[in-house]
């Protein structure tokens, strides 16, 4: 029977590396294209004066909220060492767009209640519906876990970007999408460059010699790391409203 010669196996292994690198890069570029379609709409809206910066004058919702975003959460007690903590993950999001008054270029404008996408800053805080840590920790230590919610409000005085009927954002949506698109492109380019680098190193003559072996080891390491990197970049580049909230609540 013909033995499997090492050069043939090496080419096969490099083929696996390149196929998967290109797939990961292509997925990032596909994601970039989707964001690009969204970005184009926003840029056109900004040019047409429909995407504007504004300040919330007043909200028609409870406690003067213009928008209320309620994040239903499941809490699980952390069982590793250290202080008592509850890991809170997002179960679902309920959005209430109450409307109210927006000041655009200093001119007040009435906005009716409606349904639009809401982007909050990553640092946005909120009010927890349950505040007794001891009781919550006990509940979080059961199989069922803790059911709680974080209520985030956009109210009077908040600086926002407003696209009539479509988007209320606490962060510049155009800059946000541009940054994410740039990140996706950079990731795809770096992944391909690194794959090229380790391939070149693995093919340094004499193939299977010391330098070539170091290249092979780096190629394996790259193969193992590029996959989680791709997922991290994908998660980072999601629309802010699609990014699930994960929090750690530590005993005060």
């Amino acid at each position: 029977m013909h033995p499997l010669v090492y050069p043939a196996m090496g080419l096969f292994a490099l083929g696996v590396l390149w196929l998967n690198t290109l797939l990961i890069a292509a997925a990032a570029l596909l994601h970039r294209r989707e964001l690009g379609q969204h970005l184009r709409r926003l840029v056109e809206a900004r040019r047409a004066g429909r995407l504007v910066e504004a300040e919330v004058g007043a909200g028609s919702g409870p406690d003067g909220a213009f928008v209320t975003r309620t994040v239903r959460q499941r809490g699980r007690a952390v069982t590793t060492g250290g202080p008592d903590r509850i890991l809170l993950t997002e179960v679902s999001v309920e959005l209430a767009c109450h409307g109210g008054e927006l000041r655009i270029d200093g001119t007040p404008r009435r906005i009716e209640a409606g349904r639009w996408d809401v982007w909050l800053a990553p640092s946005a805080t909120g009010t927890r519906t349950r505040s007794d840590f001891d009781a919550c920790f006990a509940e979080a230590s059961t199989h069922k876990g803790l059911a709680t919610a974080l209520v985030q409000r956009v109210g009077a005085g908040a600086r926002v970007y407003w696209l009539e009927g479509e988007l209320l954002s606490a962060i510049d949506p155009v800059a946000t999408l541009e940054t994410r698109r740039a990140g996706l492109l950079a990731f795809a380019a770096v992944a391909i460059l690194l794959a090229g680098g380790v391939t070149a190193l693995a093919l340094v003559p004499p193939v299977f010699g010391t330098v070539s072996t170091i290249g092979g080891a780096l190629a394996l390491l790259f193969f193992v790391l590029v996959q989680p990197a791709g997922v991290r970049v994908r998660n980072w580049a999601q629309r802010p409203s699609a990014q699930p909230l994960v929090e750690l609540w530590q005993r005060p």
Partner: protein, 327 residues
């Protein structure tokens, strides 16, 4: 905490009792044989140059996939009566697939079986890939689902109440990566070509199965959430892992008992398109003979009026969490 079984089984359908002095079920000798043959193939290729040929290599890739199937079955129900042996066997299996077998407790038993991570999607959801060329989805799927799964397992490990989970998980990591690393250190290229490549084939293959068994299904339904592959030969080799719907619904059932229950409980309730006679033909039809993903069908309508017979999904999830503490 004790929980009642999710489905009441008629006496004729009750799981068979085939215990041996060592094993919970004598059919598990097949699983032990798979793992023995697989590890022997890897070691033979690594140590004996004459064994580095296409037959051994392809056999090792195939048995690597079966090793991952055994991980799946073993993590649902330990093969051995001895808890210590079960834990040791997890380490052996972890080396074979180069990932810690205990990851399945969270990723498969608790999250995937209920298609839910406390409100977030299953880490192995088919929706994680979106190429218009469907073959690329099959190829790319492990690149996304693997990291998502291990992120999820790490998060779950922070909160598990299974006291020795983290210790066992660490041990399996040490065995899987340590032993593979030693083989690579000793002879990098032989280790890469004849150990790591088969390991990766199996580990990535078992991730792909999630796409194959659930893409185009309705994970909100009780009986039409999975695609079944019902060929007899296929299921003999695959330890009945083709009968996926009944396995999802009654996770504690031994794999040797799945075929009869599939015919009795599942077949009358599922869309005929989810009862595939051949996986090879399905793969050809779905990923090679066409460009785009197949159009979606409302498969859940097949169970209209017949969706009963199961405990609520939330209850079954609780069962899985309780079972995870016991193994």
């Amino acid at each position: 905490m004790s929980v009642a079984p999710s489905v009441a089984l008629a006496s004729s359908e009750a799981p068979s009792t085939n215990e041996t002095w060592l094993l919970h079920h004598r059919a598990d000798r097949r699983q032990l044989g798979i793992v023995f043959v697989y590890d022997a193939l890897l070691l033979a290729m690594y140590f004996v140059p004459a064994c580095r040929n296409p037959v051994f290599f392809l056999a090792a890739c195939w048995f690597s996939f079966l090793n991952a199937v055994v991980i799946h079955n073993h993590l649902h129900k330990g093969i051995f009566k001895s808890r210590a042996l079960n834990r040791l066997f997890r380490c052996v299996l972890s080396f074979g697939s180069m990932y810690p077998a205990s990851a399945n407790v969270a990723s498969h038993n608790i999250v995937h079986h209920h298609f839910d991570d406390d409100g977030q999607p299953d880490w192995a959801s088919p929706d994680q890939v979106g190429f218009r060329w469907n073959l690329l989805n099959l190829l790319h799927f492990p690149n996304v689902v693997g990291p998502s799964t291990f992120d999820g397992v790490s998060r779950w490990a922070m909160t598990t109440r299974q006291k020795d989970f983290r210790q066992q998980y660490l041990l399996e990591n040490v065995v899987a990566f340590g032993l593979t690393g030693l083989l690579l250190w000793n002879d990098f290229w032989t280790g890469l070509f004849f150990v790591v490549l088969p390991q990766l084939w199996g580990a990535r293959g078992i991730l792909r199965i999630n796409l194959i068994q659930h893409d185009g299904c309705d994970v909100r339904s009780e009986w039409n959430h999975s695609r079944n592959f019902v060929g007899d030969g296929f299921n003999w080799v695959m330890c009945n892992n083709g009968y996926h719907t009944i396995h999802h619904n009654i996770a504690g059932l031994h794999w040797a008992d799945l075929a009869a229950l599939h015919r009795a409980k599942v077949a009358p309730r599922i869309d005929p398109s989810l009862d595939e006679p051949s996986m090879v033909r399905y793969l050809w039809r779905t990923y090679f003979a066409r460009f785009a993903p197949p159009p979606r069908q409302d498969v859940a309508r097949a169970e209209a009026g017949r969706s009963g017979g199961l405990a609520p999904r939330e209850y079954r999830k609780l069962e899985a969490a309780v079972a995870s503490l016991a193994e």
